[in-house]
């Protein structure tokens, strides 16, 4: 029996197509990891790996960097072997956590970025792990919270209603009101009396409330205080302006305080003054001698006396001289 060559070719092509499609599906769905294991493995130890399954993703800062290759029980803890893609460096202080991708129970391992510059984890090394609460634990805690809330509400209810023969809050209030009924009535009566007096303008408070004159006076006082405050404010503004001017070195005071040159001049002046005063004290120079030497004083006194006598002489001759002067001018 001999086949049609075309038929054989078709079958061959068809078969090759099938093999190619199987290969495509394989490459797409398993990342080609059955034949060769790319990358390196690290180990993550947990108390409980929960829903973690073979092939679940390992994500670093949300980016897929590998997958769970194996989950196993070693001693009293569960270990997940993580296959990390080549070229991905995980710092040795990074933490691995089992996280849920959704409410449908898909889990993945989240690895944080660690600190920059930390040495990388080597193949076969163990990564640090952190425990996060899973949904069941959260639900259990919510249940506990509900019980506590229930108890708290029960206690409040008991406090209101009373328990084991003890009276509740309302009963106590009732008793309080019944026992002190007279006192309360009295107090209310007094209050009514006081408010009546206030209303009719009796007493200081009543007058304050009811007398318009008092109100006007109070208003005037307040206005005065206000204007005084305004003046004070103006004064403060002026003072502030002066201080600002001084600070900016304007004006005499400003120059004196903030101008270095003026300071230096003052220093020189002070020094000169001191020199002068020293000289004066020592009796140097004319003025010093004048101050310190009493000979000069006596001389001066003598001179003055002479001058006095001379002036008196002149006074006696005054009228004669005056006539002489007038005559001279006439002739």
């Amino acid at each position: 029996m001999q086949n049609n060559p075309q038929q054989t070719a078709r079958v061959g092509l068809f078969f090759l197509l099938g093999v190619a499609l199987i290969w495509v599906a394989f490459e797409t769905l398993s990342d080609g990891k059955v034949f060769k294991d790319k990358g390196y493995t690290i180990i993550a130890g947990f108390d409980n790996v929960r829903e973690l399954k073979l092939g679940d993703e390992v994500r670093m800062a949300g980016v897929k960097v590998g997958s769970v290759e194996e989950t196993r029980l070693t001693g009293r803890r569960a270990e997940a072997v993580l296959r990390i893609a080549p070229g991905v460096i995980i710092p040795n202080d990074a933490n691995a956590t089992i996280l849920s991708a959704g409410l449908l129970g898909t889990n993945y391992i989240g690895v944080d970025l660690g600190t920059p510059g930390a040495p990388p984890l080597l193949a076969g090394a163990e990564i640090k792990t952190k425990i996060t609460a899973d949904i069941n634990t959260i639900m259990a805690q919510l249940g506990d919270l509900g019980t506590k809330l229930d108890n708290a509400l029960g206690s409040i209810g008991d406090a209101m209603k009373g328990k084991d023969g003890k009276p509740g809050l309302f009963q106590r209030l009732d008793t309080l009101l019944a026992d002190n009924g007279g006192n309360i009535t009295e107090t209310m009566k007094n209050l009514k009396e006081v408010s009546g007096k206030l209303n009719s303008g009796e007493g200081t408070l009543g007058k304050l409330i009811n007398d318009p004159k008092l109100h006007d006076e109070l208003l005037a006082a307040v206005t005065d205080i206000k204007s005084a405050a305004n003046n004070a404010k103006g004064f403060m503004t002026d003072a502030q302006a002066i201080v600002d001017q001084v600070k900016s070195g304007q004006g005499t005071l400003g120059t004196l305080i903030y101008n270095d040159e003026a300071g230096q001049n003052i220093k020189v002046v002070t020094k000169n003054l001191r020199d002068i005063s020293d000289k004066l004290a020592k009796g140097e120079g004319t003025l010093g001698k004048l101050i310190n030497d009493d000979v000069l004083y006596r001389d001066a006194q003598g001179t003055l006396k002479k001058v006095d006598r001379m002036v008196e002489g002149l006074a006696d001759q005054g009228p004669i001289s005056a006539v002489g002067v007038v005559a001279n001018s006439l002739f």
């Binding site: 086949n3 038929q7 495509v24 599906a25 398993s30």
Partner: protein, 250 residues
């Protein structure tokens, strides 16, 4: 009781036929042209109907899933649903049913008429066992062709789902997202499981159809009855085997 005896007789003849065919396995290379011819009939000529059926099964799956899932916002999981359903279950079962209907019936009809017109007896007289030249090439061909048909069915089904998901207004799921979830929730193991199932189904369908064809007694009317019986038994067998094979593979 008679029915039960018939069922047991049918199982017995199929097992014997299988044993004889496996015994002739070394002769397969010498019957290469027959093997190629059967590959052509079982695989190549069945491809169009497999592609059409798979495309629409994928589309309908996506449509139904999108309709049901839109109310609780799980539309992005359509990809994984269609992908897993096609690869693990619908792909292999649908291909097996098509093979039973299109190829199995033809095999039974051919062998039954050969039996009825005493061609089988003639072969046996010439010391040519029918299990060698009629059954063995078909069994070998179906084993080679079933994975090819199934993977094409799977991929065409996924594609159908993606197209429907994109162009149906109330789903409007981008193909990137569709294939991303498909990839996220599927492993190659799922596809491989489907191919293994298809292999089992195809093998038993061809075996049962050959066995019923060769066991035909009587005239032309019995040929039709044999074909009907072969197809019915094949369909039942596919669904029964599906349960057990799935249970073993999971």
């Amino acid at each position: 009781m008679k029915q039960l005896t018939n069922i047991c007789a049918g199982i017995g003849s199929a097992v014997l036929l299988l044993g004889k065919s496996i015994g002739h396995a070394p002769t397969l290379l010498r019957q290469w042209p027959r093997f190629i011819e059967q590959c052509y009939l079982i695989g190549y000529t069945t491809l169009p109907i497999v592609a059409i059926l798979s495309f629409f099964i994928g589309s309908v799956l996506a449509l139904q899933a999108g309709y049901s899932m839109q109310s609780f916002g799980a539309k992005e999981f359509i990809g994984s649903l269609v992908g897993l359903s096609m690869a693990r279950e619908l792909g292999p079962v649908m291909v097996a049913i098509l093979v039973a209907g299109r190829v199995g019936s033809a095999i039974t009809a051919e062998l039954a008429s050969m039996k009825v017109y005493q061609e089988i007896d003639a072969l046996e007289t010439m010391n040519i066992p029918p299990s060698r030249i009629l059954v063995l090439p078909r069994l070998a061909a179906v084993l080679v062709m079933m994975p090819v048909l199934t993977i094409i069915g799977d991929l065409v089904g996924w594609l159908g789902g993606a197209i429907v998901s994109k162009y149906t207004p109330f789903i409007a799921l981008e193909p990137e997202k569709y294939f991303e979830t498909l990839r996220r929730f599927m492993k190659f193991k799922d596809v491989l499981n489907g191919l293994e199932k298809a292999e089992v189904f195809g093998f038993f369908v061809v075996l049962v159809c050959c066995s019923i064809g060769l066991e035909t007694r009587g005239g032309p009317r019995e040929i039709g009855a044999s074909v009907t019986r072969a197809v019915v038994v094949s369909l039942i067998l596919i669904l029964v085997l599906d349960y057990f094979v799935t249970k073993i593979l999971i």
